[in-house]
C-alpha cells in the first residue's frame, strides 16, 4: 500500500509540532524517519494512525484520503510497535496475542500465534506474564503483536531503542527477513543511523517539525560529503542549529 503525505501540519498551543510535511512512500518500501527528539516523528506517526487529528493537510493511503476511508477497515491492515507502548503486564504473552488477534479479526489465530512464536523465538516465555519479561523479550512480543494481522502498513517507532546490540540486531534481522517474505510498507522512526541505513530504501530527515532533507542514504551522504549517515545527520542538524 502506498502512502502520500501532503502538506501535513499539527499545531499544539499555536506551536507547530509538524509543519507542512510532504512525502511519499511507495508500496512495499521502507522509509526511515530520522530526527532529534521532539522533531515531530511520533506526532507524524500518530496522525497516520488516526490518534492525532491534523491541523491541516492530507494523508492519502492507496490513493484515498484517510478521512474518506472507514477507520476500522484501515486500521485492520495497519499496525504499530513502539517501546513506549506496552501490552498488559499481568497477562501472558499468549493471552495478549490472542486478544489482539481477535481484535484484528485474524483468521486461524492459533496457527498465526504459533507462527509468530516460532519466528520471533517466543516459545520459552509464551506462557509467562508480559510484565515479567526482559526488555528484549518484551520488544519481540510487541513486534509479534504488531505483525499479528500481517499488516500491509507497519509503523515502527524506535523499535530497537534501549535494546542491547545483540537483541537489536536480532530485531533488525527479523524485520529485514519479514520484509523480504511479505508485502509491507514500513515507516521506521529511529535514532539509530546504522539501523536506518540497513533497513530503509529511503530516508527523511526532520527537524523542528520540518523535513530538512530526503532521499536514499547514499544520496544524502553524498550531498553532504560525509562517509556515513550518522556524520551526515550531525552535520545537518548542527548546521541548521547554527543558522537558527
Amino acid at each position: 500500500m502506498s502512502i502520500q503525505i501532503k502538506n501535513l501540519s499539527k499545531k499544539f498551543n499555536n506551536i507547530y509540532a509538524v509543519n507542512n510535511l510532504s512525502f511519499d512512500i511507495e508500496s512495499n518500501k521502507t522509509v526511515g524517519l530520522l530526527g532529534p527528539n521532539g522533531c515531530g516523528k511520533t506526532t507524524s506517526i500518530g496522525m497516520m494512525l488516526g490518534l492525532i487529528k491534523p491541523s491541516s493537510g492530507k494523508i492519502i493511503i492507496q490513493d484515498k484520503n484517510i478521512d474518506t476511508i472507514d477507520r476500522n477497515r484501515l486500521l485492520s491492515v495497519m499496525n504499530f510497535a513502539s517501546p513506549y507502548v506496552e501490552l498488559p503486564k499481568k497477562l501472558s504473552v499468549q493471552q495478549n496475542l490472542q486478544i489482539y488477534g481477535r481484535l484484528y479479526g485474524v483468521k486461524d489465530l492459533k496457527s498465526r500465534i504459533n507462527e509468530l512464536t516460532e519466528d520471533l523465538n517466543l516459545k520459552d516465555f509464551v506462557n509467562k506474564k508480559t510484565g515479567e519479561l526482559s526488555s528484549g523479550q518484551k520488544n519481540r512480543v510487541s513486534l509479534a503483536k504488531s505483525l499479528i494481522n500481517k499488516p500491509e502498513i507497519l509503523l515502527l517507532d524506535e523499535p530497537t531503542a534501549s535494546l542491547d546490540p545483540d537483541t537489536g540486531d536480532y530485531v533488525r534481522t527479523y524485520i529485514q527477513s519479514y520484509k523480504s517474505k511479505n508485502k509491507v510498507t514500513i515507516l521506521l522512526a529511529s535514532h539509530n543511523m546504522a539501523e536506518v541505513e540497513r533497513l530503509c530504501d529511503s530516508v527523511i530527515m526532520m527537524k523542528k517539525g520540518k523535513i530538512i532533507d530526503q532521499g536514499t542514504s547514499k544520496e544524502i551522504i553524498g550531498r553532504h560529503g560525509r562517509t556515513n549517515l550518522e556524520e551526515t545527520f550531525l552535520k545537518i542538524v548542527r548546521s541548521k542549529d547554527e543558522m537558527a
Partner: protein
C-alpha cells in the same frame, strides 16, 4: 457493533481477573467488609429506632444496593485505568474497534466484576444478619438495572475526564461517587435534605431507587411508575455520559493525548 470484538475486549479483563487470586479476593473483600459494617449499624438501629423498628435490614439493604452502584462505577473506572497503567492505551486505540464497542465491553464487564464481589456479600448477610436483599422481590432487578445504568454513566464521565485531562484525573475517579452520595438519600428519606438540595436530588435516579426500596421494605408496596422513572432518569444520564465520552475522545485526538498515554 460486532460482538466478537466486544468479547475480545471483555476477555482482556476476564484474563486479568482469572490470572490473579489476590485480585479476586480484593473484589470480594471490600463489599464483604461493607456489609458487615452496615450489618452491625443496621442491627443497632433496628433495636433503637422507631423508624426502622418494624423492619429489619432497611439500612443493610440500602448498603448492598449502594455498594452495587459503587462497584459498577469503580469497576468501569479501574478497567479503563488499567489500560493507562499498563501503557496499553495506544495499542487499544489503534486496533480496529469502534468507541461504541469499547464502551459496550466496559459496560458488560463492569457488571460481572461487581457481581463477583457483591453476590457473596449479599448471601453472607442472610445467615449473619437475617437480611436478604432478595426480599425486595422482582422489583429488585429493576432497581439494580437503574443503579447499573447510572453507575456506568458515572464511569463514562470519569473516563471522559481521563481522556480530557490524562492520568492526573485519576483522583477524581475515586472521589466521584462520594460526591453524589449525600444527595442520593441512600440511608435517609429525601425530606431530610434542605428544600434547594431536594430539587437537585430529585433529578438523580438514586433518590427514586432508594425511596422505592424503603417503600417496598417498610410499607410492602411496589410503585412501578416510580421505578420506571428512576430507570428513565438513568438512561437520560447514560446518553449524556456517552456523548461526553465521544466529545472527550474527539478532543483527545485534537490535543494528541491518545498517543503514549501512560503512568
Amino acid at each position: 457493533m460486532r460482538w466478537h470484538k466486544i468479547y475480545a475486549l471483555c476477555l482482556r479483563h476476564i484474563y486479568l481477573i482469572s490470572n490473579s487470586l489476590p485480585r479476586i479476593i480484593d473484589l470480594i473483600y471490600w463489599p464483604t467488609v461493607q456489609i458487615f459494617l452496615w450489618g452491625f449499624i443496621s442491627k443497632f438501629f433496628t433495636l433503637n429506632s422507631e423508624y426502622y423498628s418494624n423492619t429489619v435490614g432497611v439500612i443493610l439493604t440500602a448498603a448492598i444496593l449502594y455498594d452495587f452502584l459503587f462497584r459498577v462505577s469503580i469497576s468501569y473506572n479501574i478497567m479503563f485505568l488499567e489500560e493507562i497503567w499498563s501503557r496499553n492505551f495506544t495499542n487499544l486505540f489503534i486496533a480496529p474497534i469502534k468507541i461504541s464497542e469499547m464502551i459496550a465491553s466496559l459496560t458488560i464487564t463492569a457488571v460481572f466484576r461487581s457481581l463477583i464481589g457483591l453476590v457473596p456479600a449479599a448471601l453472607l448477610a442472610i445467615p449473619f444478619f437475617g437480611v436478604s436483599v432478595f426480599e425486595i422481590g422482582p422489583a429488585l432487578i429493576a432497581l439494580l438495572f437503574s443503579l447499573y445504568i447510572f453507575g456506568v454513566t458515572l464511569g463514562l464521565l470519569v473516563t471522559a475526564g481521563l481522556l480530557r485531562f490524562g492520568p492526573s484525573f485519576e483522583n477524581i475517579a475515586w472521589a466521584s461517587l462520594f460526591f453524589l452520595a449525600p444527595l442520593g438519600c441512600i440511608y435517609y428519606p429525601v425530606e431530610i435534605l434542605p428544600n434547594s438540595l431536594q430539587i437537585i436530588a430529585n433529578g438523580l435516579p438514586l433518590v427514586h431507587v432508594f425511596e422505592e426500596m424503603r417503600n417496598i421494605l417498610l410499607n410492602n408496596i411496589v410503585s412501578y411508575p416510580e421505578i420506571f422513572k428512576s430507570i428513565l432518569i438513568s438512561i437520560a444520564y447514560f446518553v449524556f455520559g456517552v456523548s461526553t465520552f465521544y466529545l472527550a475522545y474527539s478532543g483527545a485526538r485534537v490535543r494528541g493525548t491518545l498517543i503514549n498515554m501512560g503512568e
